[in-house]
């Protein structure tokens, strides 16, 4: 019952936000196109780099495209739903968070709902184009397990990035300092995650497994998807993100408990 009520409320939030954006239709359209172009240029970049190459560290053009598509899609969905956490420092600064705490309803819901932004969906188009190209250029025999792996990668990726946004937001509770270092983990992962992580070498691969578990949604399931390693267990590695998300939300809860208004 509660979930249903919350979901209804979230939809309400989303529709209000969308309506307010739609007041400026041209601006909205240009934002979508702009974000689409930025992502699309990256796709062309990969195409150009591959014009003389057949593979990078054993990954073909089509395989890199699949990887790029998964990351783009995950990040876009995460930005769409988790935008509130991303701009959380602004919410705190304006005293909006204080108001949220007064309302008898979940804080996470309010933070996520109040900044729902449809204009963020531009890169989704690029991601879909990339996905189609990737499927055409790579020789994957699609089966139920592989489709599942792909879906799990995207869902897991979305949750991973949302987790990172929550982490970034939680830092606002503990420090007034610039949290832009988190950009490396979010935007950096989006930009550099377009290649399978192992091309960056062992050190980066380790960091992306034990510190921030990017490999759970990218490298490991990708091995199964591309048929490089047969083990079907790898297809379930995105589930590991649940643990990461749990840690992030614990930090968030702890932060909320210790929250002191900045008084504006």
């Amino acid at each position: 019952m509660k979930i249903r009520k919350n979901l209804k409320l979230y939809m309400k939030y989303a529709s209000v936000c969308t309506k307010s954006i739609m007041q400026y239709k041209l601006s909205f359209l240009l934002m979508i196109i702009g974000r689409f172009i930025i992502a699309f240029c990256e796709l062309i970049g990969i195409r150009f780099l591959f014009s003389d190459l057949t593979q990078i560290k054993g990954y073909t053009y089509g395989e890199v495209l699949l990887c790029f598509s998964v990351i783009q899609m995950s990040f876009t969905f995460a930005e769409l739903f988790g935008n509130g956490f991303k701009v959380f420092s602004g919410i705190v600064r304006k005293g909006e968070f204080d108001r949220m705490m007064l309302r008898p309803c979940s804080l996470i819901l309010q933070v996520m709902g109040s900044r729902f932004e449809v204009g963020r969906t531009g890169p989704l188009l690029t991601a879909v184009i990339t996905l189609v190209l990737g499927i055409r250029h790579s020789q994957i025999t699609w089966s139920a397990a592989k489709v599942w792996t792909m879906a799990a990668m995207i869902t897991g990726g979305t949750l991973l990035f949302i987790g990172l946004f929550i982490l970034e937001a939680s830092m606002c509770f503990f420090s007034i300092e610039d949290t832009s270092l988190m950009n490396v983990l979010t935007y950096g992962a989006k930009t550099h995650g377009k290649y399978p992580i192992d091309i960056y070498g062992k050190g980066i691969l380790r960091f992306c497994t034990y510190i921030i578990p990017y490999t759970l949604i990218q490298y490991y399931p990708l091995q199964f998807l591309l048929g490089k390693k047969g083990s079907i267990y790898l297809a379930f590695s995105p589930f590991g993100i649940a643990v990461f998300l749990l840690i992030c939300s614990c930090l968030w809860q702890y932060g909320v408990k210790n929250y002191k208004s900045c008084g504006s």
């Binding site: 196109i33 150009f48 560290k57 550099h192 091309i199």
Partner: protein, 268 residues
């Protein structure tokens, strides 16, 4: 005396805030650059030495790009100016007995050089000394090429800023500047070689691109520095840079003349 100490403490705290911001920005850029170096390393290995640029040139290109980021990026245009156009602050600017174009031009150039200077020193310092050996930036190939590098940096900065000025001017004709800005700057970012260096573009596209001003932004100085661009081509590029600087500036001024007549204050 007490109040002066208070002031000192206040300024110091503010300064520390900014210092922290500088440190985080530096860290971000170093990680970013290193990741790019690693990616190109893999690409270099895959291509078996048949790359359009040699690896050390690419590394130098990447570090110069990171170090001089604020000089050449088009997306970080001056937000105050956009705000002025949308919220009506432009009225105050119009009151000044100065040409808006020259005023905004010098303001943008000044801000960019100041920020770039602060940013590039630590980034380049780390790129020269602290990076693992394979990913270290190299010295310019010769004294002459360094001087040409400096000259072309300024010309490229001029072209970038005149382009930004055109974007500002276009904002007078719309009420949604952020959207236009995103469309224009997203494309230019790619065309000026920020996503991949221009030599990686296929020949036929590169040919077209060299007919546009975008190939004469950061592309020219960075490649002169590493010796990727040499000989007669350099002087040809400098001439084309001067040409585009003049064309974009005239275009911007013409747009301003048009905008000036129809400027509408959106409240404020």
């Amino acid at each position: 005396m007490k109040k002066y100490i208070c002031f000192f403490k206040l300024r110091f705290a503010t300064g520390m805030q900014y210092r922290m911001a500088t440190v985080t920005a530096l860290t971000t850029q170093l990680i970013w650059g290193l990741m790019e170096c690693l990616a190109y390393r893999a690409i270099a290995e895959a291509s078996g030495g048949k790359m359009p640029m040699d690896y050390s040139s690419i590394v130098t290109y990447i570090w110069l790009k990171e170090g001089l980021l604020v000089l050449f990026n088009t997306w970080a245009a001056d937000n105050d100016l956009f705000a002025m156009i949308t919220d009506g602050g432009i009225a105050y600017e119009l009151c000044r007995p100065l040409s808006i174009y020259s005023m905004w031009f010098s303001r943008t150039v000044g801000a960019r050089i100041a920020e770039a200077f602060m940013r590039c020193v630590p980034v380049l310092f780390c790129a020269f000394l602290l990076m693992p050996k394979a990913y270290r930036m190299t010295l310019p190939v010769s004294g002459v090429s360094f001087l040409l590098f400096l000259l072309t940096v300024f010309l490229a900065l001029g072209i970038t800023v005149t382009f930004c000025m055109i974007v500002y001017m276009l904002c007078f004709f719309t009420i949604s500047p952020q959207g236009w800005r995103m469309v224009l700057t997203g494309a230019v970012d790619f065309l000026s070689g920020n996503v991949i260096p221009l030599p990686f573009f296929p020949k036929k596209y590169l040919f077209l691109l060299e007919l546009s001003p975008f190939a004469y932004m950061q592309n020219v100085p960075f490649r002169i520095y590493s010796g990727d661009l040499m000989g007669g081509d350099v002087y040809l590029c400098i001439l084309k840079q001067i040409f585009w600087l003049a064309v974009l500036m005239l275009l911007g001024i013409a747009l301003w003349k048009k905008a000036e007549k129809r400027v509408a204050l959106q409240g404020g």
